[in-house]
Symmetry: C2
Subunit: 158 residues, 2 copies
DNA sequence: TATTGTTATACTCTATAACTATA
DNA sequence: TATAGTTATAGAGTATAACAATA
């Protein structure tokens, strides 16, 4: 059997631990909410990417989000099976596949983003609105100046 | 081949993504530094726990840090093999094993904590000291009020 | 020859379940 | 019978490497 829940702030000595615990605090309920829509965090991340950059090809998506090419194949497969996105060969280079979000995909993404926002509001409920804005600003500032990152997994999301 | 490094702040729309990216920004180089000491992030986490609570038994450590009992066995095995900690039966209940950090373990932990601190300073180099303090305060405040968490993995550290 | 995507496989990490020894 | 720890196994998630199609 898995251990009981943990006192939230215990043992978080290093800043990295704080990042991790807050990420988990947001990731776990987000993943549960997404599951009710038939989505996973990686699928949600790809859909978010697709929302703004329709004609990007698999490799570009993977490079932008740190998803391995072979993993991208499986993710886009899932999106296609669910009718949330579709592939088409790029005209200028028929090796490459452009991935496009479908109207159904947009509708599902809209609901998913709402759920993710709700979770995030709940996770940061300890902060006043001004404090929350301040936190986000500091996080962005730190990340912008942080050392360059190696490739990441796709498990990142709200 | 794995994809190239990612522009740090790109795509981090949700706060959860910021947490994740900053955690990774600190976790990856920390893991690399620990490896040079023969440690891993989970071992580092357990040693940190042991530093302050010597007589805790495996189950307690696991419960406090969200590490599965069977995973704890493997971790303490590794610490014992390296001479960094040792087990002994608890007098009052010989089913239970108290885990104690050794002097060698303390020395190694001291170096590990120095390395982790250096990484963290580097990760947060974009923030002025006052901003950094402010960030930590906001993170702690948010975490203290966040919804109760399910068990965690041991991958959390500086 | 190099590159995109694909496939099949291997690896890492963690959880699950059955077992032992104590209680 | 219940609990701490152990062991062996399975599962999820991801990466690696070889292959096909195209450039």
């Amino acid at each position: 059997m898995a251990p009981d829940p943990i006192p939230a702030a215990e043992e978080a000595e290093f800043v990295g631990q704080l990042f991790f615990r807050l990420w988990r605090a947001s990731h776990t309920p987000t993943a549960e909410a997404l599951e009710r829509l038939g989505l996973t965090p990686p699928l949600f991340a790809v859909l978010n990417h697709l929302r703004d950059r329709e004609a990007s090809i698999q490799q570009q998506i993977g490079a932008a989000m740190g998803i391995d090419p072979s993993t991208m194949v499986a993710l886009v497969d899932q999106l296609e099976r669910g009718g949330l996105a579709k592939r088409r060969p790029r005209a200028q280079d028929r090796r490459a596949r452009e991935v496009l979000i479908t109207p159904k995909g947009r509708r599902k993404l809209r609901r998913a983003r709402e759920l993710a926002q709700e979770v995030e509001t709940d996770v940061l409920r300890g902060l006043a609105p001004a404090e929350r804005d301040q936190l986000v600003a500091l996080l962005r500032q730190a990340l912008a100046a942080a050392p360059p990152q190696p490739p990441w997994t796709a498990a990142e999301d709200g």
